[in-house]
Symmetry: C2
Subunit: 464 residues, 2 copies
C-alpha cells in the first residue's frame, strides 16, 4: 500500500483553507425540524462536493433532498459509500450561546457553531479527504460514493425508502460514517452498530370517567391495576423479560466482540455517581457494556393513570397508559417482537390495547469483517493510537438501512471531541480533530482499496 | 307512645312559614373552603335554634365555630344528639346556575339554592321538628342536643378534636344525622355507617434525572418497574390483597345486615351502562353491595412516572409515584393497616418510600341496635314506606367521631331528593321532602323516647 505522507502533509499545509471552507459551510443554517435554510445548504454542499472532485447532484425524497456525489475509478475496484447529514439541530436556547450559532467563531483551537461537529465538520472532512488524495496521489484507490441527507435531525423519515429505491446507485462494499464524539478519554473509537428499538403504548380502560373511589370502590374495575398486573407479568423475579421468545434471536457476542468490550474503560463508581444510582438493575450476572450493547431492554418510559398532583384525590381512574421501549439487538426484529408482545398481552389481558408507535431494526457489523479491520487499522495509523472498538451503541440510529437493506458492513468513526456539545448551545469542533478526520478518511480509502484488506488489519495490529 | 297526628298537622299548617325560614337561611352564604360568610351564618342559625326552643351558643374550635344547642328535659330520659353542618360548597361554575345560588328560588315545588339539601334544609328540618313537637305536645320525649359544624365541606378538620374535648357535653344515647339523598328510587333509606380510608403514596427513585433509554438502557434501574413490581406483589391472581393480615379485622356481615343488603334494589346492567364497564372487578364471589359495604379496597388512585404526552419519548424516568387509597371496614384500623402495608413494602423494596397522606376510621352501627330499630320504625311511620336499610356507605365520612370517640350508635336518615345536585350547580330540595323530614325527626324523637324502643320497632315492622 502507498505511504500517505504526502496526503497528510497536504492536509497540514492547507489547514487555514480547510478551516475557512468549514466556516463558510457553517454560516449557512439548515435546521430541518424548523425548515430553515435546508435547501440552500444542500446547494452549497453540492458545490463543495464538486470542488472536491466528485460528480454531484441532488436526489429528491418525499422530504429534503439527498446530496449525492461519486467518483468512479474502476468498476473492478472496491467502493466506499460515505454517509453524513447536512441538516443541523435547532439553536434554542439562543441566549446560552457565547457567539451566534451561525456566525462560526474560533476560540482556543475550536470552531464554535451549530453543526460544527454534528455533522458538517465530520462529513466535510470526508470530502476533503477525497480532494487531498486526488491532489497528492492523482487517483483514488477506491470508488467513492457520498450521500448526505437533510433530515437526520428529524429522525430520517425518508432514508430507508431512499435507500430501497437507489440500491444500484448505492452499491458498495463498505458504508463509512463519521458522527458523534471520540471516546470520553479522547481515544479514537470505531463503532460497529446500534441497538434497534420497538416503542409501544399499552392502554387499559376502566369506567368512562374517573369515579369516586369510595362510592364505587370494589364494584368498578381499575385500569391502573390492570396495567400494573400485565406489566408485572412481563418480567420474572430476576428482571428477565417473560414474553415468550423475547430472547430467541439475541445473537451472542463473538469472542472478538467480547474481547473488544473487555478493553473498554469503565469506572463503575463514577458512572453510578453521575447517574445518582447505587446499583445496576436486574438481571444480575451481566457486564456493564454487555448490557448496553448485546442485551435487549424492556423499559417503561412512562406510566400515567389517575391523579398525580399534590395530596389526595380519591378516584378510580378512567384510563391507564404505559409507554414501553425495547432496545433490540441482532438478530431481533421489531415486527417479530411486537407480535410476541401483543400475544403476551392478548393472552393475559385481551382488553388492554397495544399500539405500536415506532421501531427501528438493530445493526451490528462483525468485528471480524475484513473492512472493519481495515478501518480499525486506518484509524490506528492516522492517529497513532489503537482505537477502542465499540460493537454497538446503546441507542438507536437508522444504520439498518445500510446493513439490512443494502446488506453492507457499516462502520462509524467519530471525529468530534467528547465535549462537542452537539444538540446543545456552543457546539464546537476542535480543529486538530477535524484535520485528523481528513487523514483518517484518506487512510480508510487507502486500506479498503488495498488488494487484501486483512493485510492492513495486520499492520494496524502492529501499531497497538 | 303518643300519636303524632297533631305534630304532623302542625307541620302541614306551617308549610309557608317553614319554607320562608329556610329561604332566609339559604340567603346567607357560608362557603367554608373560601371563608365566605361562615361566621355570619353561624350567628344566623344560632338565632334559629333559639327560636325553635333550644338553648344555644357558639363553641369555638381551631377553625370555624360549632353551633351547639340543647333542650334538657330530664336527666332520666334518653338523649338524642343531632349532627349537621351549616357550611356549604363553593358555587362555581356560577354561569351554570339558572338562578343565583344565594337567591333561593322556588320552581316546581323545589327550592333552588346552594345548601338547600346539603345541609341547611336537612338540619333546619330537625330544629323545626323540635319546635313543632314543643308547640303541639308541650314537652319533648327526649333530651335533645344539636351540633352544627362549619367545616364539613372542608373535610371536618377539627371535628374529632372538638368531640374529644366535649365528651360530657355531648353525652347521648343516639346520634342522628340527615344528609345526602334518599334512595334513587325515591324510597327512604336509613344509613348505618361508612367505610374508613387510608391514603398512601409510594415513591420509587431511579436516576437523578430522566436518562436516555438507549444510551443508558440496561445499566440504570427504572423506578417505574420497581413500583409496578411492588404494587403487583400486593395482589394475588384473584385480586385479593396479599398484604399480610390485611383482612384480619374485617367483621363479617350479620344475618340482619345481609338480609338488609339483599333487599336493596340492584340493576347491574344499568349500573354497568352508567359506569361504562362490562364486569365487576376481581375478586369474584362477592355480591355488589357486599363489595361496597363490607369489603375493603386496595385502589390505585394514581400512577405517574416518566413521559405521558403524545407519541414517543425515550427515557428512563427519574421517579415513579403511586397513590393508593384503601377503603376500610369495621374493625380495620388505618394505623394497623398502614403498619402492615409499610412492612410489606419494606420487606420487598426497602428503597420505595411510603408516605401516609390521610386516614379515617370506619364506622358501622348495628342494625340490631334498639335505637336503629326505633329510627327505622319512625321513618316507616312518617313516610308510610318501609325504608331501605344501608349498613354502610362505600365512601368515608367522620362518623367514627360518634361511634368510636363517643361510643354511640349513629344513624343517618337522608331527606333530600335523589337529584338534589349537591356539590353542583342548581342544588335543590323538594319542599315535600323537607316537610317530611320534619315529621320523620319528630317521630324519631318520639320513638327513641318510648319506654322500650324495641316496641316502636315492632310497630314500624307492622307498617311494612
Amino acid at each position: 500500500m502507498s505511504d500517505l505522507t504526502h496526503v497528510y502533509a497536504y492536509v497540514d499545509a492547507r489547514r487555514e483553507e480547510f478551516v475557512d471552507l468549514l466556516l463558510r459551510y457553517l454560516r449557512q443554517p439548515s435546521i430541518s425540524t424548523q425548515d430553515v435554510g435546508v435547501e440552500v445548504c444542500a446547494e452549497l454542499v453540492l458545490g463543495m462536493m464538486r470542488d472536491c472532485g466528485l460528480e454531484a447532484r441532488l436526489l429528491p425524497t418525499a422530504g429534503k433532498p439527498v446530496v449525492f456525489g461519486q467518483r468512479a475509478v474502476d468498476p473492478g475496484r472496491r467502493t466506499v459509500l460515505i454517509y453524513g447529514h447536512y441538516d443541523v439541530q435547532p439553536v434554542d436556547p439562543l441566549e446560552a450561546w457565547e457567539t451566534p450559532p451561525f456566525e462560526p467563531t474560533i476560540r482556543n483551537g475550536r470552531i464554535y457553531a451549530r453543526g460544527a461537529g454534528d455533522n458538517k465538520g465530520q462529513h466535510l472532512a470526508q470530502l476533503l479527504a477525497v480532494r487531498s488524495y486526488l491532489a497528492t496521489e492523482g487517483a483514488l484507490p477506491v470508488n467513492v460514493k457520498v450521500i448526505l441527507e437533510g433530515e437526520e435531525e428529524s429522525s430520517s423519515p425518508h432514508l430507508a425508502r431512499f435507500v430501497e429505491e437507489h440500491r444500484e446507485l448505492l452499491a458498495a462494499d463498505l458504508v463509512y460514517t463519521s458522527d458523534g464524539p471520540v471516546h470520553e478519554s479522547g481515544r479514537p473509537q470505531v463503532v460497529l452498530g446500534v441497538r434497534g428499538i420497538l416503542y409501544v403504548e399499552l392502554r387499559a380502560r376502566g369506567p368512562k370517567s374517573d369515579l369516586h373511589s369510595g362510592n364505587r370502590g370494589g364494584v368498578v374495575p381499575n385500569p391502573a391495576w390492570r396495567l400494573v398486573e400485565v406489566l408485572a407479568s412481563m418480567r420474572d423475579a430476576h428482571g428477565r423479560a417473560t414474553i415468550e421468545g423475547f430472547y430467541d434471536d439475541v445473537r451472542p457476542l463473538t469472542a472478538a466482540e467480547s474481547a473488544a468490550i473487555a478493553r473498554l474503560p469503565l469506572d463503575l463508581a463514577k458512572v453510578f455517581a453521575s447517574y445518582g444510582v447505587t446499583r445496576l438493575p436486574p438481571p444480575e450476572g451481566l457486564g456493564y457494556y454487555e448490557r448496553l450493547m448485546a442485551q435487549p431492554t424492556l423499559n417503561i418510559c412512562g406510566f400515567a393513570s389517575g391523579y398525580s398532583g399534590e395530596g389526595m384525590k380519591t378516584i378510580i381512574p378512567a384510563t391507564a397508559t404505559a409507554k414501553l421501549d425495547m432496545r433490540l439487538v441482532p438478530d431481533q426484529d421489531p415486527d417479530d417482537v411486537f407480535e410476541k408482545l401483543t400475544r403476551h398481552v392478548r393472552e393475559r389481558a385481551p382488553d388492554v390495547a397495544v399500539a405500536r408507535l415506532g421501531s427501528m431494526l438493530p445493526s451490528r457489523t462483525p468485528i471480524e469483517n475484513p473492512y472493519t479491520q481495515a478501518v480499525i487499522a486506518a484509524v490506528a495509523e492516522a492517529t497513532g493510537e489503537e482505537p477502542l472498538v465499540v460493537p454497538s451503541l446503546g441507542g438507536s440510529l437508522p444504520d439498518y438501512v445500510f446493513t439490512r437493506i443494502l446488506g453492507l458492513p457499516s462502520v462509524t468513526v467519530p471525529y468530534a471531541n467528547p465535549d462537542e456539545s452537539n444538540h446543545a448551545p456552543n457546539e464546537n469542533l476542535e480543529i486538530e480533530r477535524y484535520l485528523k478526520g481528513i487523514k483518517i478518511c484518506a487512510t480508510v480509502l487507502r486500506n479498503v482499496g488495498a488488494p487484501e484488506p486483512a493485510t492492513a488489519a495486520a499492520r494496524g495490529a502492529a501499531v497497538a
